[in-house]
């Protein structure tokens, strides 16, 4: 088990930077999720840790020991690949035994450990089968099994459940998290699915365009995104963004728009005025921080016209047209609005955000 540190890590393909100046500390035994859309450099990051890719510049350290020049086999990491990468010509047992065998373990030790791992993953009845005889979920368990038969420094999971169906994915999320807690091994988990990252990780590293955007706990990333990009990427349904003007009315800053004018709290006012002189910024509010009604609750509410309603079973999403944009509101299924009707929304001002229009940085 090890602590993993990234120190000014760069990865370039030719002149194309894929990872830019990455600095992350991942404490021993923690679960770090690297989150970002495809092409953000998250896979390159993981492959550099595994030793499958050259580190262009900077250092990666395990327990303060640089591992840049070590071959993968000497790094003592275990990795689960997106496509499982099982050896088709070997049985499940041989697949799982492979890392131990390559390290010259005794047959008895191998047998014991593989059996134990298989039991843990509930695949002990599949040991004699070949990978092509397994379902997606079973293959995935075998791939994980191959990783946990040893006690490596570090687990690397590269989108391991991306190819499973939705139900199984939800199930495996819980299992993997439980597994990591049980084994206590440091884990780096790469995913593009914010839900996976949110639900499993101790720490999330959000990456975009090769740059680390934010490093924090799931709660921090969700509640206090550092910039508009992170705010927009994390959360489902996604955050609404509305361009608003900033106006002073009777000593209190208001965010103004054709459809509304809402005062900010004192704390927020301080932050905005400290932060910039911009007369316009981007307001961000999550669908669940808005409440919608068909009657006007107060003066400082947002007026809009219902575009469409989507029933999601337990919840309802209402798409509302403002004059220049469309926002989504999460509400209960009791909501009785009709398409085309005028509706009113109140913002929970404790839960909204404001971002600079210039560089996307969050004021609050």
């Amino acid at each position: 088990m090890a602590k993993v540190s990234f120190r000014n890590v760069w990865k370039k393909y030719g002149d194309m930077p894929a990872v830019k100046d990455l600095n992350i500390e991942c404490p021993d035994g923690s679960f770090l999720s690297v989150l970002g859309p495809s092409g953000c450099g998250k896979s390159s990051t993981m492959r550099m840790v595994a030793g499958l890719e050259h580190i262009t510049s900077g250092q990666i350290l395990f327990d303060e020991r640089p591992i840049n020049d070590l071959a993968p086999k000497d790094r003592d990491v275990a990795m689960v690949f997106e496509n499982y990468a099982l050896y088709p010509h070997k049985s499940v047992y041989e697949n799982m035994a492979n890392p131990l065998k390559l390290r010259g373990q005794d047959a008895s030790v191998i047998k014991e450990r593989v059996t134990a791992a298989a039991k843990l993953l509930e695949i002990n009845h599949l040991l004699e089968r070949r990978p092509q005889e397994l379902s997606g979920g079973q293959k995935q368990r075998v791939a994980i099994g191959r990783a946990i038969v040893r006690e490596p420094n570090l687990f690397l999971f590269d989108e391991p459940i991306a190819h499973l169906d939705a139900k199984l994915r939800a199930h495996m999320r819980g299992e993997i998290k439980h597994l990591q807690r049980t084994l206590g091994t440091t884990m780096i988990y790469v995913t593009h699915d914010q839900l996976e990252a949110m639900s499993m990780a101790d720490t999330i590293a959000v990456m975009h365009d090769g740059e680390l955007q934010q490093l924090g706990t799931p709660r921090e990333v969700y509640n206090h995104p550092v910039n508009a990009w992170v705010a927009g990427f994390v959360g489902e349904p996604a955050m609404n963004f509305v361009d608003v003007g900033v106006e002073d009315r009777a000593g209190r800053t208001h965010f103004t728009h054709q459809n509304f004018s809402v005062p900010v709290t004192e704390e927020q006012q301080r932050r905005v005025s400290n932060g910039s002189r911009e007369s316009a910024l981007r307001m961000g509010v999550r669908p669940d921080a808005l409440s919608i009604s068909m009657t006007k609750p107060s003066e400082s509410c947002i007026t809009g016209k219902i575009f469409v309603t989507e029933l999601l079973g337990g919840d309802m999403i209402v798409d509302v047209d403002l004059d220049d944009c469309r926002i989504r509101v999460k509400t209960s299924t009791e909501f009785a609005g009709e398409e085309g009707q005028t509706c009113y929304m109140t913002v929970n001002t404790n839960k909204w955000h404001a971002f600079s229009k210039e560089n996307g940085k969050a004021f609050f």
Binding site: P72, V77, E82, L86, L102, E338
Partner: protein, 339 residues
């Protein structure tokens, strides 16, 4: 539920939807949300009559010309082959001979020797080609010069085997052949050409086949190497394998199906093509390189014993068809097992 929760189905209430965007192009017709749920049928009744199936005649008409032509040049000759094999066939004279063509075969030493030599020839060609071809592919794979070098290696394959045979005949020649000079200078050969001595003639032929067709093995192996799943190699590396170990336990097993195909193809080609052998030795010296197809050629088109030739051809054909059956099975199974 209040009245508002019940969706209104009248068109008037919906007219306002679309937010004033121009929807004239599409006539919007609203379907009520609250369709009465349909009862689940409790029993299914079998259909009393079946409809006419879709006609496939279009496709059969498209197939017909090719099938007819093929039948004329393959099935029709096949029956002739059987007919001829049972007769004494000379130009303008055909006579039933009580299976004599077949009966004589087991005691025909050149016929039996033909099989042995064919096996010997094929074994030598294949062994050398596989070893060299695979090694070349490994040496080439991923190098900067791969494209250029592969293109260079392709050149012999484009050559008519007959021309290749001629060129090598020239190179092997005992008085003015450059390769003969080389072999002589290296002390490997004496004054006699490699083709002139019964001990070495077969090797001379094998070298030509190796020269011309090893690149095919290389090409096939390269294609196979590109298909070795990268993530399996990587997984094995992370599991702790050395490059050599990685080759043995991941690359080779993944390469195995294409290599099998390569072997089968070359093996069958050794049956099929005898052009270069006809030029280089014609089966000689003595009968040292008279592999079965060469012997068959000699019987049929040198001595014009077409009946006897047909008998030999029939046996050769049956053996090939059996091999072909195996090959097709290999083809079907070789689809890369994706995990």
């Amino acid at each position: 539920m209040t009245d508002a929760t019940m969706p209104k189905t009248s068109g008037a209430a919906r007219k306002t939807s679309g937010n004033g965007r121009n929807l004239d192009l599409f006539r919007v017709r609203h379907i009520p949300d609250s369709v009465e749920s349909r009862p689940v049928p409790m029993s299914v009744t079998e259909p009393t009559s079946l409809n006419k199936p879709v006609s496939k005649s279009f496709y059969f008409w498209l197939m017909a010309p090719a099938i007819l032509v093929l039948a004329f040049i393959s099935i029709y000759p096949f029956f002739w082959m059987i007919y001829m094999s049972l007769h004494d066939v000379d130009i303008g004279h055909v006579e039933w001979n009580n299976f004599a063509n077949f009966i004589k075969l087991p005691s025909d030493s050149r016929f039996l020797m033909g099989w042995v030599l064919l096996a010997e020839y094929s074994a030598m060609c294949l062994t050398l080609q596989i070893i060299i071809g695979v090694f070349l592919a490994l040496a080439l794979n991923g190098t900067r010069l791969e494209k250029v070098l592969v293109t260079t290696l392709l050149m012999p394959m484009m050559m008519a085997p007959l021309v290749a045979g001629m060129v090598w005949y020239f190179l092997y020649n005992g008085t003015f052949g450059w390769y003969h000079w080389l072999l002589q200078s290296l002390g490997i050969l004496g004054a006699k050409s490699i083709l002139a001595s019964a001990n070495t003639a077969m090797i001379g032929l094998v070298l030509v086949d190796v020269w011309q067709w090893t690149p095919l093995i290389t090409l096939i192996t390269l294609a196979g190497l590109k298909r070795v799943p990268q993530d399996q190699l990587e997984a094995n590396m992370v599991d702790g394998a050395s490059p050599f170990r990685n080759f043995v336990s991941v690359t080779l097993p993944n390469l195995y199906p294409v290599l099998l195909i390569a072997i089968m193809l070359r093996f069958m080609d050794n049956f099929r093509f005898i052009d270069s052998i006809l030029v280089l030795t014609g089966g000689g010296p003595g009968n040292a390189t008279k592999i079965l197809p060469v012997y068959l050629f000699e019987v049929s088109f040198k001595f014009f014993k077409l009946g006897r030739g047909a008998a030999i051809a029939l046996i050769l054909l049956i053996v090939t068809i059996i091999l072909g059956k195996i090959l097709v099975r290999v083809f079907d199974r070789q689809q890369p097992s994706k995990v």
